[in-house]
Amino acid sequence: MMTALQSHTPVLDEPRVTRGEAAVSIRGLTRSFGGPNILDDLDLELEAGSFTALLGRSGSGKSTLLRTLAGLDTAPAGTVSVPDRRAVVFQEPRLLPWKKVWRNVSLGLRRGDARARASAALSELGLSHRLDAWPLTLSGGEAQRVALARALVREPKLMLLDEPFAALDALTRLRMQALVGKLWQMHDLTVLLVTHDVDEALLLADRAVVLIDGRIGADVAIPLDRPRHHGDPEFIRLRQQLLGTLGIDENGLDGGG
């Protein structure tokens, strides 16, 4: 199903060397909606080309942060610097059901042959046969891959993923995680992945940032070789560390989040 990917450049097996410059820079960002601060004097930099997982319990402010970076919530001037070319993939595909798949992907493209570009992006995600399908006839995994294609076709510098696999079944989720990992390695992308899932963060990201009450509670490098394995002792150690930061032991006790 994902064979289209293999015809491209070889996939790197080591963590990608990042270039040191910041693609995203946040300085002293405070956000509140009338109550306590959702984001509280937050500082965060994302290196260009890095893959960062943003973890946190519900209500920790991670969605607000992602929305701010996506430009959906306005931030106070001077606090947030992001690339102009950004793309967002949400938990739901959020496709326009009245437009065929390729028109969903090409929506908003202003240059070039829209259908050809949409077709190329969909092929990369193994969906070249679904170009003229209606979105409501797609399976959940297919629809989410269309949403990924819609993000990729814009050739973004920054890709914001808001729990994009949370609504998928377990097998489809594993496939999608592998797919996103490969897309990141083949494109010049900075990725910020918002997730609840510590394992997902450890499989994909080279850095995990844990938000607690609108502040950065932990900032952990994930220097694991790729492809990664759940059984790797270092994987297990990082897993316990991150779960500990989130306030849950490995049996899921004392959760409450």
Binding site: G71, R94, L96, P97, K99, T137, R154
Partner: protein, 282 residues
């Protein structure tokens, strides 16, 4: 793979029996109406009901033929059609204009919604006496009444449809750097279309209803005039012809709107599934 071949075989094997049962269903649906006609004709033929008040189907058919060859039917039908077309056209146009104005902006909603909601509660047919005093007994009061009746279903449904468009999808479109005009054109209007078409179907029904009343109150042409004239001469068969014409007109225009729906809403699984039953499985 094995399961895929299995389903194909099964659907091929089932195809003929499905066609037969579909034909049977079709015939079944016509059974009762045909039975009613037969019994009705029998009652008349045996003289069990007063043929003056309740003409037999055959006499109604004869009256229909008479009206057709003398040209009365088509002439009056044309006049009625024009009244509905013009009135409905004006009503739908205004309904769309108000619906867009109120649906797309808070300012528009505050400007027109309260007034329209108040006028809406007035039964528009109650305005007939006033319209006759204002506009006389020509075409104007009839067209104005049809327009007035069809404004509201279009306005209400379009307004509700625009406001019901999924916020999340609009948000996603915003992240694609669409301008406000592009979002309205690509997201909001197509999203409101199903609801608008429901409003349009209501409007068409109301337009015919209004025509019937308006033509019977005062008119010297049109199907309603034909019917009222027939009443004066006790021509019940002609009255029946008029009723059947109304039914056919209502049905036809409703089917027209449904045909528009099928084309415009082809993206909905309810419509696509009927044509391509196996698409969702993939």
């Amino acid at each position: 793979m094995a399961s895929a071949t299995l389903t194909v075989e099964r659907s091929v094997a089932r195809a003929p029996s499905r066609a037969v049962s579909k034909a049977f269903d079709g015939a079944h649906r016509f059974l009762v109406p045909v039975l009613i006609l037969v019994v009705w004709q029998a009652l008349d033929s045996f003289g069990w009901i007063n043929a003056r008040l309740m003409p037999s189907p055959i006499r109604v058919a004869e009256a229909f033929w008479q009206l057709l060859v003398t040209g009365q039917l088509l002439g009056n039908l044309w006049i009625s059609l024009v009244r509905v077309a013009v009135g409905l056209g004006i009503g739908v146009f205004l309904g769309i204009a108000f619906g867009l104005f109120a649906g797309l902006s808070r300012f528009g909603e505050n400007t027109v919604d309260s007034t329209l909601q108040m006028v809406r509660t007035l039964p528009h047919l109650a305005l007939i006496p006033l319209f006759i005093l204002w506009f006389g007994i020509g075409e104007t009061p009839k067209i104005a009444l049809i327009a007035l009746g069809s404004v509201f279903p279009v306005y209400l449904n379009l307004f509700a449809g625009i406001r019901a468009v999924d916020r999340k999808v609009i948000e996603a479109a915003t992240t694609l750097d669409l301008t406000r005009a592009e979002i309205i054109w690509n997201v909001i209007l197509p999203g409101a279309l199903p609801s608008f078409l429901v409003g349009l179907r209501y409007a068409v029904g109301i337009a015919w209803l209004t025509l019937v009343v308006a033509e019977q109150v005062n008119a010297n042409s049109g199907i309603g005039y034909l019917v009222m004239n027939a009443r004066d001469f006790l021509e019940t068969d002609v009255i029946f012809v008029g009723l059947i014409i109304y039914a056919i007109l209502g049905l036809t225009t409703d089917q027209m709107v449904r045909a528009i729906e099928r084309r415009a809403l082809a993206w909905r699984p309810t419509f696509t599934d009927a044509q391509q039953p196996n698409r969702r499985a993939a």
